[in-house]
């Protein structure tokens, strides 16, 4: 399971280019950061207001009770620590709510600028999780009707505005139903936005209402893939082999 998620993340990381400005959504997309090749620099955008995340910090235990948390806040604010420090700063989180460090090239900005970036086509790539994707490139990833209320957060802005949208998701639901469909059934995040879907089974490019398989995981057959997909597949002339973890 962890391997599946990491494998998806690693294959997406391989699609990034030096200098790309990229937003990574919550879930599998977050893991992409761990696999960015050493020889390229990628600038990570956080929709809550920064460009240039370095690391998510493994700060644990501070939320166990309110006294512990307050004590931490009061020693990790103001000028007491900085964005380069692995100690964390109470005013420096990413959109997932994790404390982070920033690169020297980083900048912070307010939410109107942050979403001008997202909506205005300034992001080269956004990687988002997915519940369902269809042949039109429609994406559903924010709401399961009848379940707890989530809200779309920044997902609609990111899916609509980025130059390239990559969806990172497992190929089927937990009970084995296809998530790649002729037409999404769940509430949409954005229409016609998805360029590429990466699952643990394959990489699919979506173009002109076609699902074009450009790579497959080792050991998967075309028949198997067709069975697990809820829409017709086209295979690229050369189908690559996906990287393992």
């Amino acid at each position: 399971m962890t391997d599946v998620r990491n494998m998806i993340a690693k294959n997406i990381a391989g699609m990034l280019h030096d200098g790309d400005f990229v937003n990574l959504g919550i879930g599998i997309p977050t893991l992409v950061a761990n696999y960015i090749p050493d020889d390229i620099d990628v600038i990570l955008h956080g929709e809550n207001g920064f460009a240039g995340q370095d690391k998510e910090l493994p700060i644990t235990g501070i939320h166990k009770d309110v006294e512990t948390y307050k004590a931490w806040l009061n020693t990790h604010g103001g000028e007491q620590t900085d964005h380069l420090s692995g100690e964390g700063h109470r005013d420096l989180i990413n959109a997932g709510g994790f404390y982070i460090t920033l690169l020297p090239i980083a900048s912070c900005f307010d939410s109107s600028v942050s979403f001008a970036i997202a909506r205005g086509g300034h992001l080269d790539v956004t990687v988002l999780g997915g519940l369902q994707v269809d042949i039109c490139g429609n994406l559903a990833n924010w709401m399961v009707p009848g379940k707890k209320i989530n809200g779309m957060g920044g997902a609609m802005d990111l899916a609509t505005g980025a130059k390239k949208v990559i969806v990172a998701m497992e190929h089927c639901t937990k009970d084995g139903k296809p998530k790649i469909l002729e037409q999404c059934e769940m509430p949409l995040t954005a229409i016609g936005c998805v360029d590429v879907v990466v699952t643990e089974l394959c990489i699919i490019e979506i173009k002109d209402r076609k699902l074009i398989v450009t790579a497959m995981a080792p050991g998967i057959t075309r028949e198997e893939l067709k069975e697990k997909t809820g829409a017709p597949l086209t295979f690229a002339e050369t189908v690559q082999t996906m990287e393992g973890v």
Binding site: G78, I93, G97
Partner: protein, 225 residues
Amino acid sequence: MKNKVVGIEEAISHIKRGDTVMFGGFGGYGTPNNLVQEIVRQNIGDLTAITEDFSDGYKPFEMGLTALLSHKLVKKAVMSFAGGQPRVTEQVFSGELEIELTPQGTLAERIRAGGSGIGGFYTPVGVGTVVAEGKETRVIDGKTYLFEKPLRANVSLVKAYKADTFGNAIFKYDSISFNPLVAMAGDIVIMEVEKLVQPGDIPPDRVQLPGVFIDYIVVQEEVAP
């Protein structure tokens, strides 16, 4: 000139039962948490809240705006993200809370429009989704957009790291988030600050939120979750 620096009790007394109140911050960070606690203390209810979120309800204590829900002070929320906040789900399903979900960037832009005298704008975000229901769509230069309207509040609550007594403020890192936008869109604007300094201590070209938008300043050195 009028002294803007007041006690927290006086500042929050400007909020009336039934008001629309707008909050800066994101996920409880850069949120005016002490001002929120004081709303609870004064038990001001029937509020319409405009906020990115109600913060993280998974923590073993009430962070950010969560307390407003626990005390059932909010009747309606215009918001973007509720993930991880069980009280939102509970109160919506029980009919105690009405919510209007708005994409985060659209929320930022609507607040900015409200503070900027813009009557509405067209965004491509939400086209073809539930967000578009009941809204005008329009094709401009071949692309489809949704019409969105501005948001304003009776009272805006913001949080800055440091401000001078006139209200010129700066923020640490990404705690800036919605704060400067929210400060432009309220009839009354109250700012919580950690450090109060004198005019001149923050150079004019270093100011991130001009004091001209601020009516009241509350100094709270202690951080509330």
